[in-house]
């Protein structure tokens, strides 16, 4: 199989796997893989050099098929689907992590080694690779590394614990920066609007209130379109 074809099948495999495993609705499937490559074309304000870099990184493949398969299982265990939203796998997290291993090469060894550790542990304890282990066995492996001792500084924790934290961090970032994750979180910004202060019920909920004196200085949004004019002392007249 040539390299290009193998990349394509890995990508498609990832998406198909997600659909099959979680039966998630198609509109919840994040644009992944090939579509990430298109992001450069879609213009998010890249300079020509930055576009070139993205294309170069997309043409490379760091994770091997087995590593990617393991990662697919792992991110879906870290954030499985629920009634309303798909899993981290459905949200395209493995493609994001694959990209980051090339964009930030320091991730490469800890991630590759950590995935290897999962198989080693699973093989040692259950004579089976991590992806083929039962959910109960997977839980035993993960429970041992998913709860760090917060008294120990991060970089002094056992490697496998650091590995899990890294993957969980990347999984949550990948998920909550996806279309699905943003909807799940309920973030409602990034759209033109007119800010006119904290809603009253929210002020109450947090025990806060605006002072009249302060509000009097603030913008009257009904006049935002009226051109500004001042007297010679700097008092706004409009």
């Amino acid at each position: 199989m040539d390299r290009r074809k193998s990349i394509k099948s890995i990508i498609l495999g990832g998406v198909a796997g997600g659909l099959a495993l979680n039966g998630c609705k198609p509109e919840n499937v994040e644009p992944t893989g090939e579509n990430i490559a298109l992001a450069a074309e879609n213009h998010f304000g890249r300079t020509p050099e930055e576009k070139e870099l993205i294309e170069k990184l997309n043409a490379e493949q760091f994770l091997h098929p087995h590593e990617l398969a393991t990662l697919n299982v792992l991110v879906a265990l870290i954030l499985p689907a629920n009634e309303s939203y798909g899993s981290a796998l459905d949200a395209g997290v493995p493609d994001f992590i694959e990209f980051m291993t090339k964009d930030y090469p320091k991730f490469q060894t800890p991630i590759r080694g950590g995935l290897m550790w999962l198989d080693h542990k699973s093989n040692t304890d259950f004579s089976v690779e991590f992806i083929a282990a039962t959910p109960e066995q997977q839980k035993i492996v993960l429970d041992a590394i998913a709860y760090p001792d917060v008294e120990v500084p991060e970089n002094e924790r056992p490697l496998e614990v650091q590995f899990f934290s890294l993957i969980r961090n990347l999984t949550l970032t990948g998920y909550y920066t996806s279309k699905m994750g943003i909807k799940d979180l309920g973030y409602v910004g990034n759209s033109p609007n007119v800010w006119d202060g904290v809603p009253e019920d929210i002020l109450k909920q947090h025990g806060m209130a605006y002072e009249e004196e302060w509000l009097a200085k603030c913008v009257d949004q009904s006049k935002r379109n009226t051109k500004a004019a001042w007297d010679e002392k700097g008092n706004l007249l409009t």
Binding site: N190, C218, V219, G234
Partner: protein, 572 residues
């Protein structure tokens, strides 16, 4: 290879297109002069679809906005950073100045924080107050008319509070505080730390028919596609072009030096065209440097000739000296009362709606000069890093940290928007020996000798940052919050940022009446070469606990008026 000479004779050649260069372009072109603007980076218009990052979603970036390429993340509108391939700089052993450059039309004004603070009367006369550093040869009254004009031309929101050293201006009305900012106001006041509406250059109200009004996406660092915040390109250079100004824009043109004639007067500039990598020359009657404090110093130092063996305007040996940046200290906090938030759009303007100007009297303190406090927080758009250590705050409730599975969704939401942060930005004491100079052992990829820096903070700055941390901790405590991270120790220099990291570097071509101790006169004209002016922050004598941009704009306008007047009188 022959140097290619352009036959046009310009009235003025402006090197750099940031705040100072943009203002000079506008004033000089609108006065009818024929102007060349030479910019080291590409053309940039935040409204151009292929350059726009505003309103893009994190998933449009394959790295989700991570800062592996642009230092403030994929969506930030600065092409460049502290490290640029092919454009190195060096530091003297044991010092670490960090030099941020943004190579694009408009320079760093495209991504800056838009905090637009005019200096106060004391800021021009610090030596008279504490005996340290030097006074400016001008005072607030000289600059005030220009601050007023800048306020009206560009637009800045804020409030007239009658503060002695944070003068009133011509403000647009400010936006209402966000929820975490109300917590800040309450917490700060408990310790008698005053809080006021911030002063930032976004249009909360219409000022003309050309520019749009802020639509509260909170993304000024991406530069505004409807030109509702201040960037030099959108607010100065484009309007000057539209008004019929004779402006030739040279982009991707890296200026090497100012050329001079037998009499030692400037005749133009030579630059390297980054596209064909050949050297070109432009001829001009006047050269205005606006390349940024350190770049302008570098150009002067590299402009050596028989008449100017020590670099242009550098008989005093002062070019590059007195380099100083703002001090910086930061801290963040977890505020339990801001947990479990209901969702609503609180993006607001790109930055804080409230701030604290310096409020104390240094006579009662063990350090000189003050700082202002910036505050951040809220339910921002997720980007790379979101969800990292998602339930670390569990430890404050005695709950296990870590885990996996669907409980993560609830935990992420529980803590979303419960972190606030504080930045102190203060005034340092200019030191003659803090400097940039030419490193004769290195050139950049254009063959231009590079800068070597030497910079050490004094005890004044270090103690000042220590005081910032004390203030932050007190405020956080008053807000019912938990301080994150340990307080940096004196041995850690109280956590002061490396010089250059606050990106307010000024002072390398300072102004003064005495040519032996300064580079330019009060009109920002080289003492030694009357047809060369500097309108970036190089001429600053001292930096104030304010951000430099508004003063760069005001002084560039003042100098541009002077140039027009001198040309009329045929003095140059």
């Amino acid at each position: 290879m022959q140097i290619i000479e352009n036959s046009t004779m310009y009235d003025v050649i402006i090197v750099g297109s940031g705040a100072g260069g943009g203002m000079a372009t506008k004033i000089l072109a609108e006065a009818g002069l024929k102007v060349a603007v030479v910019e080291a980076g590409p053309y940039f218009d935040p409204g151009a679809p292929e350059q726009q990052t505003q309103l893009k979603w994190p998933y449009e970036s394959p790295r989700r906005g991570a800062n592996t390429v642009r230092p403030f993340g994929d969506f930030d509108s600065a092409y460049g950073g502290w490290d640029i391939d092919g454009e190195p700089y060096t530091n003297e052993e044991g010092t670490n100045f960090r030099w941020f450059r943004s190579r694009m039309l408009g320079g760093r004004t495209n991504h800056w924080g838009r905090i637009s603070l005019r200096f106060g009367p004391n800021d021009f006369k610090r030596k008279s107050i504490d005996g340290l550093g030097d006074n400016w040869p001008i005072g607030y009254e000289d600059v005030k008319p220009y601050y007023d004009k800048v306020d009206k031309l560009i637009g800045v929101f804020g409030t007239n509070e009658g503060l002695p050293n944070d003068p009133d201006g011509f403000f647009l009305p400010p936006p209402k505080p966000r929820l975490h900012e109300l917590f800040y106001i309450k917490g700060a006041r408990k310790s008698n730390i005053p809080v006021f509406p911030s002063r930032m250059s976004m249009l909360t109200k219409r000022i003309n028919d050309e520019r749009g009004i802020c639509f509260y996406c909170g993304q000024c660092s991406r530069a505004c596609s409807v030109h509702a915040d201040f960037s030099s390109g959108t607010c100065l250079i484009f309007p000057a072009q539209k008004n019929g100004g004779q402006i030739d824009l040279f982009v991707n043109a890296m200026v090497r030096e100012i050329t001079t004639n037998e009499e030692g007067k400037a005749t133009g500039v030579s630059y390297i065209n980054k596209e064909d990598r050949k050297e070109y020359k432009l001829k001009g009657k006047i050269v205005v440097l606006a390349a940024s404090a350190c770049s302008s110093a570098r150009i002067l130092l590299n402009s050596k000739s028989k008449q100017h063996p020590n670099g242009l305007g550098n008989s005093s040996d002062i070019v590059g000296k007195y380099l100083h940046d703002s001090t910086g200290g930061s801290r963040s906090a977890f505020i339990p009362d801001l947990m479990n938030r209901k969702m609503y759009n609180e993006d607001g303007v790109g930055g804080m709606h409230v701030y604290t100007p310096w409020w104390l009297d240094n006579k009662k303190l063990d350090f000189a000069r003050g700082y202002h406090i910036e505050v951040w927080g809220g339910m921002g758009m997720p980007s790379y890093g979101f969800g990292f250590n998602h339930n670390d705050f569990n430890k404050y409730f005695g709950i296990k940290v870590g885990g996996y599975g669907n409980p993560l969704r609830e935990e992420v939401k529980k803590y979303y928007g419960s972190t606030v942060g504080f930045g102190g930005r203060g005034e340092s004491i200019p030191q003659k020996e803090n400097k940039c100079d030419i490193d004769p052992t290195k050139v950049d990829e254009f063959g231009i000798p590079v800068l070597k820096f030497k910079y050490e903070w004094t005890d004044h700055e270090i103690k000042q940052v220590g005081h910032m941390h004390e203030s932050f901790e007190e405020i956080i405590h008053n807000m019912g919050g938990t301080v994150l991270g340990d307080k940096p120790t004196m041995a850690q220099k109280n956590g002061i940022y490396a010089p250059g990291e606050i990106i307010h570097e000024v002072g390398t071509t300072r102004m003064g009446d005495d040519p032996k101790t300064s580079v330019v006169n009060q009109h920002q004209q080289l003492h030694e070469v009357d047809n060369v002016f500097i309108v970036d922050a190089g001429p600053f004598v001292s930096q104030a606990d304010k951000n430099p941009t508004w003063t760069i704009l005001a002084l560039s306008w003042r100098t541009s008026d002077y140039i027009v007047e001198q040309l009329k009188m045929q003095n140059i």
